[in-house]
C-alpha cells in the first residue's frame, strides 16, 4: 500500500516535470524580448495584434461549433452501433482511425475538388459555406478521439435497458437521445470535447488551404517570422485552452443534469 503510493507520487512528479519543464523553458524565452531584462513585451505585442484576437476568436467559435456538431454526429452513432449494430463496431472504429493517417493536406485537396464553386455542393462558393466545410473538416480530424471517448462512456450505462424504459414511457427517439442518453455520457462527451477544442485551436492545414482566418495559420505565420512572439503565443494558447477546458468542466459539474457518481 505504502510503496504503491510512493510509486504513484514518483510517476506523477516525473510526468509533471516532463510536461511542465518545456513549458517553463518556452515561457522563459518568451520573456526575453526586451534586451537584458525579463518583460512581458512579447505578450503585449501579441495581445495588441488585431489579427491575434480575430483569429483566436474565430477558432474558438469554430471549436464550439465543431464540438456541438461532432457530438450530434458521434453520440447517436455510437449509441446506435451499441444498440442495434454491434457487428458494425470494428468497421466504424476503423473509419474513425483513418483521419489519423490520411494527411490533412490530402483530405483538403479532395474537398477543394469535390466541393468547389462549380461542383454540385459548392461549399467554397461563399465564406459561410467554406466555414461549414472547415467545420466538417475539423469534425473529421477529431473523429478518432470523439468517437472513442463517447463509446467508452457508453459502455458504463445500460444503453438497451434505458432505451426500453424510455420507450415504454412513450418517449420518441429524439427524447430518448437527448433526455436519457446524452446526459449520461456527458463525461465521455466532455473529454472528447476537450480534445476537439485543442485540435481546432491548433490546426493549420485545413483553415490555411480553405483560406479561413483561423488561429493555426496565424500561429504558423508568426512562428516563421518572429522570435519572441511565437513562444508567447504558444503559452497563451496553451493557457487559454486549458482554462476553457476547466471552465467547461466546471459548467458541467454545476449543471444539474450530470451528477457525479460516487
Amino acid at each position: 500500500m505504502k510503496t504503491q503510493k510512493i510509486g504513484a507520487w514518483i510517476a506523477v512528479l516525473f510526468g509533471a516535470s516532463y510536461f511542465i519543464i518545456p513549458l517553463i523553458a518556452t515561457f522563459e524565452f518568451s520573456l526575453r524580448m526586451r534586451r537584458g531584462e525579463y518583460s512581458f513585451d512579447a505578450y503585449r505585442s501579441v495581445f495588441s495584434d488585431v489579427q491575434f484576437r480575430e483569429s483566436f476568436s474565430y477558432s474558438i467559435v469554430m471549436a464550439i461549433l465543431t464540438i456541438v456538431f461532432g457530438i450530434l454526429l458521434v453520440v447517436p452513432t455510437a449509441y446506435w452501433v451499441r444498440l442495434r449494430l454491434p457487428q458494425m463496431r470494428p468497421f466504424v472504429e476503423f473509419i474513425t482511425l483513418m483521419p489519423l493517417v490520411i494527411p490533412a493536406i490530402v483530405i483538403v485537396f479532395g474537398y477543394l475538388r469535390l466541393y468547389n464553386s462549380s461542383s454540385f455542393i459548392p461549399f467554397t462558393g461563399s465564406a459561410r459555406g467554406t466555414d461549414l466545410l472547415l467545420m466538417f473538416s475539423f469534425m473529421t480530424l477529431s473523429l478518432p478521439y470523439m468517437y472513442r471517448s463517447v463509446d467508452t462512456a457508453m459502455r458504463t450505462i445500460d444503453v438497451a435497458t434505458l432505451t426500453e424504459a424510455a420507450q415504454s414511457l412513450g418517449a420518441s427517439w429524439p427524447t430518448i437521445m437527448f433526455k436519457c442518453i446524452f446526459p449520461n455520457v456527458m463525461s465521455g462527451v466532455l473529454s472528447g470535447a476537450f480534445i476537439t477544442f485543442a485540435i481546432v485551436i491548433g490546426e493549420f492545414t485545413m483553415p490555411s488551404l480553405l483560406n479561413r482566418p483561423a488561429f493555426g495559420p496565424y500561429l504558423q505565420l508568426i512562428g516563421a517570422n518572429r522570435a519572441y512572439e511565437p513562444p508567447a503565443l504558444a503559452i497563451i494558447a496553451f493557457a487559454i485552452t486549458w482554462a476553457s477546458m476547466a471552465l467547461l468542466q466546471l459548467v458541467s459539474r454545476f449543471s444539474k443534469s450530470a451528477p457525479s457518481k460516487p
Binding site: 467554397t124 461563399s126 480553405l210 505565420l221 512562428g223 517570422n225 518572429r226 522570435a227
Partner: protein, 344 residues
C-alpha cells in the same frame, strides 16, 4: 514607364479582388508592395497562406481548377524552375506587362508565361551575441569555433532556398565550377556535419535568437529583414560570403484558372512598374529591372545605401535552368546519405 490601360484597370476593378498566395509580408517587402497596390487601385487583396512553398502554390492552382472561390490563387511567385514546369502543365497563362522589354531576356519566358521578379544572394545571418567573430567565407564555417551553429533555412530536399545554400557552399569549394558545385556542396556539408558544426534544425528567427541556430544560411533579403525585425535583440550580422556568391531568382506568373484574370494582370503591371520594383527593393530584394532602374537613375540613394555592398553582387552567379536541374538532382538525391543518414 507606361501605365496600364484604362480598360484593364476598369476590368480589374470590376473583379474587385486579387487573390495572392505565399507572400510573407517581410519577404522582399511584400507587405509594402501589397499596401501600395491596394492604395493605388482600390482592389481588395485576399492573401492565401503566406507561409506556403512554391509546390504549395502549384498545388493550390491544381486543386482549385474548378473553384472560383477564395481558395483559388490568381497569381503565384515561385522558384525559377517552377515557371517552365507550370507552363508545361498548362497551369499558367501568358501576359506581357507594359515594361516587358526592360526585363532581361535571360529571366523571362519568351511567350510571357512567366518572368523573373527579384533576386538576392545567399548570405550568412549571424547572431552576434553568440558568434563573436562572424564567418567571412564558406570555408570559415568549418572552423571549430562554429560548432553547433550552422543551419540551413529549410530542407535541401524540398526548399529552393536551402538547396541554393548547399550549391553556394559547393560553388565556393569547387572554385566557381558550376558543374562540380553540387557534389562539392554535399561534400562540404558532410564535413560540416562530421565536425559537429551543422545543426539540422530549420533556421529562422526564433531559433536564431534562442541560440539553437546562431548562423543561418539565407537569402540576404530575408536575413536583412530579420535583422530589422529583431532590432538589436540580439544584434545580427548579415554577411555575403567572399566566394560562392549565388543569386536566386523567383518568377511571377498568372494562374491559368485565375478567378480574377484582370486583377492578376493589373497586379503584374504594378509589380513591374517602377513603384512596384522599388517596393521589392525596400525589402532588400534586387528587382529584376534593377539594372534598368539604376541606369535611369530611378533608385533613391538611401535605398541603395541600405543594400549590401554592390561589389558582392558583381561576383554573383546566376545558375541557368539547366544548371539548376543538374545540381538539384545531385543534391536532393545525395542529401540523405550525406547528412540524413547519420541522424537516426
Amino acid at each position: 514607364a507606361a501605365e496600364p490601360s484604362a480598360e484593364l484597370i476598369a476590368a480589374a476593378k470590376a473583379e474587385g479582388t486579387l487573390t495572392t498566395i505565399a507572400l510573407p509580408h517581410d519577404w522582399c517587402g511584400y507587405g509594402g508592395v501589397i499596401e501600395g497596390f491596394k492604395a493605388k487601385y482600390g482592389l481588395t487583396v485576399n492573401e492565401l497562406n503566406p507561409d506556403a512553398g512554391s509546390g504549395d502554390e502549384i498545388e493550390a492552382i491544381k486543386a482549385n481548377k474548378d473553384n472560383k472561390g477564395d481558395q483559388a490563387p490568381d497569381v503565384i511567385d515561385v522558384g525559377l524552375s517552377f515557371g517552365p514546369s507550370a507552363k508545361a502543365e498548362k497551369l499558367i497563362q501568358p501576359y506581357k506587362v507594359e515594361t516587358w522589354d526592360t526585363i532581361p531576356d535571360t529571366a523571362k519566358d519568351a511567350e510571357g508565361y512567366w518572368y523573373g521578379d527579384y533576386y538576392g544572394v545567399m548570405s550568412f545571418e549571424v547572431n552576434k551575441d553568440i558568434v563573436k567573430e562572424s564567418p567571412k567565407d564558406w570555408a570559415d564555417l568549418l572552423k571549430p569555433e562554429y560548432a553547433n551553429m550552422v543551419a540551413l533555412a529549410g530542407d535541401p530536399r524540398t526548399a529552393n532556398q536551402a538547396i541554393s545554400g548547399v550549391f553556394a557552399a559547393g560553388l565556393s569549394a569547387a572554385g566557381g565550377d558550376v558543374a562540380k558545385a553540387g557534389e562539392a556542396g554535399l561534400t562540404f556539408f558532410k564535413e560540416l556535419n562530421a565536425k559537429g558544426n551543422f545543426v539540422p534544425v530549420i533556421g529562422k528567427s526564433a531559433p536564431l535568437a534562442q541560440g539553437t541556430t546562431p548562423i543561418i544560411l539565407r537569402w540576404d533579403y530575408n536575413a536583412l529583414a530579420d535583422r530589422d525585425t529583431l532590432a538589436g535583440n540580439p544584434p545580427v550580422d548579415v554577411v555575403v560570403p567572399a566566394s560562392g556568391v549565388v543569386a536566386g531568382v523567383y518568377v511571377q506568373a498568372i494562374s491559368a484558372y485565375a478567378p480574377h484574370p484582370n486583377a492578376a494582370k493589373l497586379w503584374m503591371e504594378y509589380l513591374y512598374s517602377d513603384e512596384g520594383q522599388l517596393g521589392w527593393l525596400k525589402g532588400y530584394c534586387h528587382p529584376i529591372r534593377f539594372n534598368d532602374l539604376a541606369k535611369n537613375g530611378k533608385i533613391p540613394q538611401d535605398l541603395l545605401d541600405k543594400l549590401p555592398p554592390a561589389a558582392s553582387y558583381e561576383k554573383a552567379v546566376f545558375p541557368t535552368l539547366e544548371e539548376q536541374e543538374a545540381y538539384k538532382e545531385v543534391i536532393t538525391k545525395g542529401w540523405d546519405t550525406v547528412v540524413g543518414a547519420n541522424v537516426q
